[in-house]
Symmetry: C2
Subunit: 549 residues, 2 copies
């Protein structure tokens, strides 16, 4: 049995009379129904998807019989409905019973595992060790760093009862671990020889968000959080930059998402950090998604927790620190970057299934030959390290399967029919090029030609997804020189890039008036002298403004 199981959706359909048209009509859409029911008008300034205001809400029962004429909402018609339809139909996630929580289903979790595999190796290569900190943090810890408590206290979940008794001190369910990490670092770090201390943990975190959206913002989510301590500010700065670079490469090379890396404005800096670096991704609706962050924490937490070391001259000093994280939110970013009206579209490097093989036959005597050829192709590709799956269920037509696996975003489809068996060849179709244009007949099943062909196609799809997303991004960023131009760009739904040296108050005014925030001061800056778009004063850098998730 393969690693993926798709138990409920596919097996709802026993009849297959109308082939290709049928599956879409039958798909049940719990996410979309829930969200549209609670959110009749969409705000123009920020996400307003509120799943429910009551404390507990079970997901609506799946009632496929009543859903016969539901289809995936076209992306252009209602981006949010489209997003929720994909999550439900591709079985990426479902609602948990507690408001704002999410069950990550096997197909969605397999994407997370692919993300973990890549990043985990990179973290180790760059000298970090995994470990695990408890998730219960004494409430008093959160209060120690002034801006940290201000940032996090509104969204804490608190344990007040343990083992049947009221606790003396409330416990915070980890929203992030800087405080408990520093509490421990203070005990482990004594001298400069203990530095740098570089660790990471893969964990769940809880933030009591009022406005939730699957993957993008949930009450509990999964992430990795790196934490490091250094002897000098320069080392901490290098580490923070190194890790945002790891994230940037990951986004480009694995997820085919052309993020823009840069520095956050003071207003948008993490609660407790000196500097926050970020990667910002443009979603299909042109809203920005903060897809990963790396913080230079300076000595803020080490001063709050007394994390000191003795330097080479015998002086006691506070350590310089960083923290950095990527979460399951990134999966939402992949969906909203590459998906189309047909459904999900996964970059080959993160796809749980890279190739789906669909056997096709009509007469009983064709069956064995076709299935044998299917198995043989699967074995050839598997031996070459390609993630491949056969859909040989007999309850559904090939047309139904084509649609289903396109909707699931599998990059390549191989079709094998009786004629292909006799000619020793297969038909290969690309998910990213619809219809006949993406379909090639007569690919030999000889390992020596099939394997390189499939690998090349997967590579081509990977680059093509990045190329398409990059063009989309670039055609939706406007260079602006004045606040009027900025407003115009934002009103058009685009990102605005322009010189900025104005005040925090001006930044907040832009947010209030346009709904856009500074996403970052990009690392890549245009040459030459610049004037602030707001004040006309000299500006060192351009900033990118956009509405965001």
């Amino acid at each position: 049995m393969g690693a993926l199981r798709l138990p409920s959706l596919t097996s709802l359909f026993t009849s297959s009379s109308s082939a290709a048209a049928l599956p879409r009509r039958h798909l049940h859409l719990p996410f979309r129904r829930l969200y549209t029911a609670n959110c009749s008008a969409q705000s123009s300034t920020a996400e307003k998807e509120i799943s429910s205001t009551s404390e507990l809400e079970g997901p609506p029962k799946l009632k496929p019989q009543q859903d016969k004429d539901r289809v995936i909402t076209p992306r252009s018609q209602d981006f949010n409905a489209w997003y929720l339809d994909i999550i439900a139909n591709a079985e990426l996630a479902d609602y948990g019973p507690v408001r704002g929580t999410m069950v990550i289903r096997p197909y969605g979790y397999a994407i997370w595992e692919a993300i973990q595999d890549y990043l985990n190796a990179k973290f180790k290569e760059t000298g970090h060790s995994n470990m695990y900190f408890p998730q219960f943090i004494p409430y008093s810890f959160i209060e120690k760093e002034a801006s940290h408590v201000e940032g996090f206290s509104p969204e804490l979940a608190l344990v007040t009862i343990g083992g049947g008794k009221e606790l003396e001190e409330k416990l915070v369910v980890r929203p992030t671990s800087e405080t408990i990490v520093n509490h421990m670092f203070t005990q482990w770090i004594h001298s400069y020889r203990d530095l740098p201390l570089m660790i990471n943990q893969w964990a769940n975190v809880t933030r009591w968000e009022m406005r939730t959206k699957p993957f993008v913002r949930t009450l509990e989510f999964l992430w990795q959080e790196g934490h490091t301590a250094h002897a000098t500010p320069e080392e901490a700065e290098m580490e923070a930059l190194q890790m945002i670079d790891v994230y940037t490469k990951f986004a480009y090379e694995q997820a085919a998402i052309p993020v823009i890396a840069g520095r956050k404005s003071k207003v948008e800096t993490f609660a407790g950090a000196s500097k926050t670096y970020t990667i910002e991704a443009m979603m299909g609706d042109r809203k920005a998604l903060q897809a990963g962050t790396s913080h230079n924490l300076g000595q803020n937490f080490s001063r709050a927790f007394g994390t000191q070391f003795t330097d080479e001259n015998g002086q006691r000093e506070h350590v310089w620190q960083t923290s950095w994280a990527i979460s399951t939110r990134f999966i939402g970013g992949i969906i909203m970057t590459h998906g189309d009206d047909t459904g999900l579209m996964l970059p080959p490097k993160l796809a749980p299934v890279q190739v789906i093989i669909i056997p096709i036959w009509k007469k009983a005597d064709e069956r064995t030959g076709v299935l044998n050829a299917t198995t043989s192709v699967k074995e050839i590709l598997e031996a070459a390290g390609i993630k491949v799956k056969i859909d040989d269920s007999e309850q559904r037509t090939p047309g139904w399967k084509f649609n289903f696996w396109e909707m699931k975003g599998v990059p390549l489809r191989i079709e094998i029919g009786p004629r292909d068996v006799s000619s020793g060849s297969v038909v290969v179709s690309r998910r990213d090029i619809p219809g006949k244009q993406g379909k090639v007949f007569g690919i030999s099943t000889e390992s020596s030609s099939l394997v390189p062909y499939v690998k090349d196609k997967l590579d081509e799809i990977q680059s093509s997804l990045l190329g398409v997303a990059t063009s989309f991004r670039d055609s939706n960023i406007m260079d602006v020189c004045s606040y009027a131009e900025l407003k115009e760009a934002i009103a058009q739904g685009k990102w605005a890039r322009g010189p900025w040296s104005a005040s925090d108050n001006d930044e907040l005014k832009v947010k209030e008036e346009t709904g856009a925030t500074i996403r970052c001061f990009p690392f890549e800056q245009p040459q030459g002298s610049k004037k602030c778009l707001m004040t006309g004063n000299p500006a060192d850098e351009v900033a990118i403004f956009a509405k965001s998730y």
Copy 2:
């Protein structure tokens, strides 16, 4: 940089004048001090290690200067102190700030990663997919299955405040996930075609334990929990047996722990299960450790949660289920099975470092040659997939390093000095055979001879650890025919194995009078007719009685 960082302990020692004797004297022992401070008398019936009765307690500060004459307590002298000394000195774990919680440090976590790597692959091979369920469970869920709530309600942690507001319904922080799993399964399972549904999650769980002990019983721990649903009771039973078999093979082949697999008595069955299968391991103090369990849940949860499917005849039926888990407790089992007075002893297959290389030189002109040889040996072994590390720090003597890495349980040590460099050879020492007997000189550094030699030695150590543990186990199990003999065996600290068909009340009487419980009815049963040791009535099976963690 390698995957492992050992930041604080090693760097406390800057002087190295008295070489081999020095490190033991300097080791700081926070665990031991904490436990001995709170636990002056040790009960003979069960573990009574109570870390603290106050809600919050930080681990004692590390004060190496004051610890100069501390050593690892000999195992024979005080098993519990020895255990805590190892955890502290080998930097496997530390106390979290909240009573009963544990920070798993990089070296301890790396053992957990090795456990995960093996089991994760086995779970996928046997058809399970990973996914993730939210950790917050509505309190009402826990109450739905009568024996489940009885078993778990005393040890729940409850979230009562979220986002600054009192919640309408208290939320349970996951102690195990059967209830939320069934809530979701009820929505995903419709027909027999959706079955079997076989999933697993790697997660943290919380149980408000009063008596905690690092790894063995902590307020929060890490585990995997498998959950499956089937169309027939036979399939569920096969699955429960299959998974206890996966655990058994893991224990024998990876951890070198000769567990005894069997069925729990009714009294000891999991709260909510029809049958519980277990693997029971004998620790170095001859107490039993329940090291993994697999439950046949029957229809208990599916009835409580209405998890039904339509069978092939169109009838609605409740699904048959299993769940199974192994946790970070297993790391405690490894420590207490293989460790000795010198410290930890890790089975090569789970060791984060399989080979430690220690360069030895006195004169400055020897340094380069020795270090080059060291690097070359490391590269040769690494290329062969062996986990290898060099300790080339210049603050410590070779003697100090020998002791340190023995204490950390690294299976093989390679020493390279100037004479070895000239002869193109190395010295190889086994952790499991102390002194000269475990030391072999003149092993060629040619890849073609070094690699197979090291691999063979690692295999030998792996088998040898299992052999030693098996002999120890077998010499400490007494076959008993009467209650008097059972009491005698338990009084001697041994396990008692004897025919049993008596009542639950008799079982509880044994527990009360001897401190021993039925660990399991082993799968391997002696032939022939048997009479119950308690009642003299015919008995179908022998049971194993022991004191346990």
